[in-house]
Symmetry: C2
Subunit: 201 residues, 2 copies
DNA sequence: CCATTACGATACTAACCGTTCCGTTCAGGA
DNA sequence: TCCTGAACGGAACGGTTAGTATCGTAATGG
């Protein structure tokens, strides 16, 4: 515990940074092609052009490897323009771009499916997933403070309402999502949560 | 092809209907515990108290067995009261009861995750999933015809908006869903799609 | 009581996979 | 330049699984 735990100071052959990244890239690629249960460490090693020991020297198990590969994928970038519609539209717009341009959408269903039966995975991935919702939750909180949105709402429910349609397409269609759907979807949700809209109950 | 292909007319010992159901029950139970990739035919046979041959005599593969077990789970019952709010509330209310009372919620994430990488499963399960959305889509169509809802909407998007929050909880929380959330969720969505609510664009 | 089919059990095939072990390679300090 | 120690790739190990085949037994209908 004296000084540096990560930099091995000096001795021996240094680890190949090239191999490190090749392994993570191969992991994502195979996660897309075969999912968590179909991914094999052997396959990752072959595709990355390394030996299996090179993988196990860096990650203690297939699970930890997958988690780190997943963590490399970009998440939701926080936007704070002072206007909820604008915030949501920019955040979800760029999120859809991420879903369409990176392996995220292809990887998500498999990990969610595994999560349900794998407590160890659940424990590792749940905090990451919670963190990725945060920008939307914070945007909603700011909107409540500004009086832009009713203050009697369950914001978690509203967030699920916003992410829900995206999840439906990602999980059951697996298709690219048309960014043009963002605006109508946001509008539909917002009409329900703005204060002036019908104050029925 | 003369007369009956299913009823073996006469000869030999008849198949045990008891074993048949025990196999399907065991399949669902193991699907809940271990998911699709963790389910083994050997495990099903053991839990059902039958031999593996008895399973393979009925279903050509693990995949077909799982599909039939899944098909046994109840779906969305159609409701037509003449009022959209009432239709949705009754349908979603009973659907939540199904999710909470049957293995459906526990089974769904695993199958959706597998679906993304298994074309054969996708081909078998997609029609079933599409069929289960239908009652909500039809309720929306009737509401459009009655003028209860704007007629310029993408009803598939609205259906995703309705199922979305449920999916979010099933896929990422895995917890029971509080039925009290149905009404506020429906109301939030409906405020966006009723004609009198703000006619902004 | 016989032909026929299903039954549970078991063993077998052929494959596959997560993890560890081993002989070799290589960068940096002496 | 040589030596050390960790990293390397590949081979080996231990365990598992879908699906098939075969057993002796049990239950039908004729």
């Amino acid at each position: 515990m004296s000084s540096n735990a990560q930099t091995p100071v000096s001795a021996g052959r240094p680890r190949s940074e090239e191999a490190h990244q090749a392994i993570l890239d191969a992991t994502l690629a195979l996660l897309v092609e075969a999912g968590f249960s179909g991914l094999t460490v052997e396959g990752v090693a072959t595709r990355a052009g390394v030996g299996k020991a090179t993988i196990y020297r860096r990650w203690p198990s297939k699970l930890h490897l997958v988690i780190e590969a997943f963590r490399q994928l970009p998440g939701l970038a926080e936007v704070d323009t002072g206007d909820l519609v604008e915030d949501l539209e920019q955040m979800l717009g760029s999120y859809l771009r991420i879903l369409n341009d990176t392996p995220l959408a292809a990887v998500m269903p498999s990990l969610a499916g595994e999560r349900a039966h794998n407590p160890e995975l659940s424990e590792l991935i749940d905090p990451i997933l919670r963190g990725r919702r945060k920008p939307v939750l914070r945007a909603l909180e700011r909107a409540v403070e500004r009086g832009e949105v009713r203050d009697d709402l369950d914001l978690e429910l509203v967030a699920d309402l916003i992410f829900g349609p995206i999840a439906m397409r990602v999980f059951f269609a697996g298709a690219r999502i048309n960014p043009k759907l963002v605006r109508p979807a946001i509008e539909l949700v917002l009409k329900g949560i703005t204060p002036r809209a019908g104050a029925s109950d």
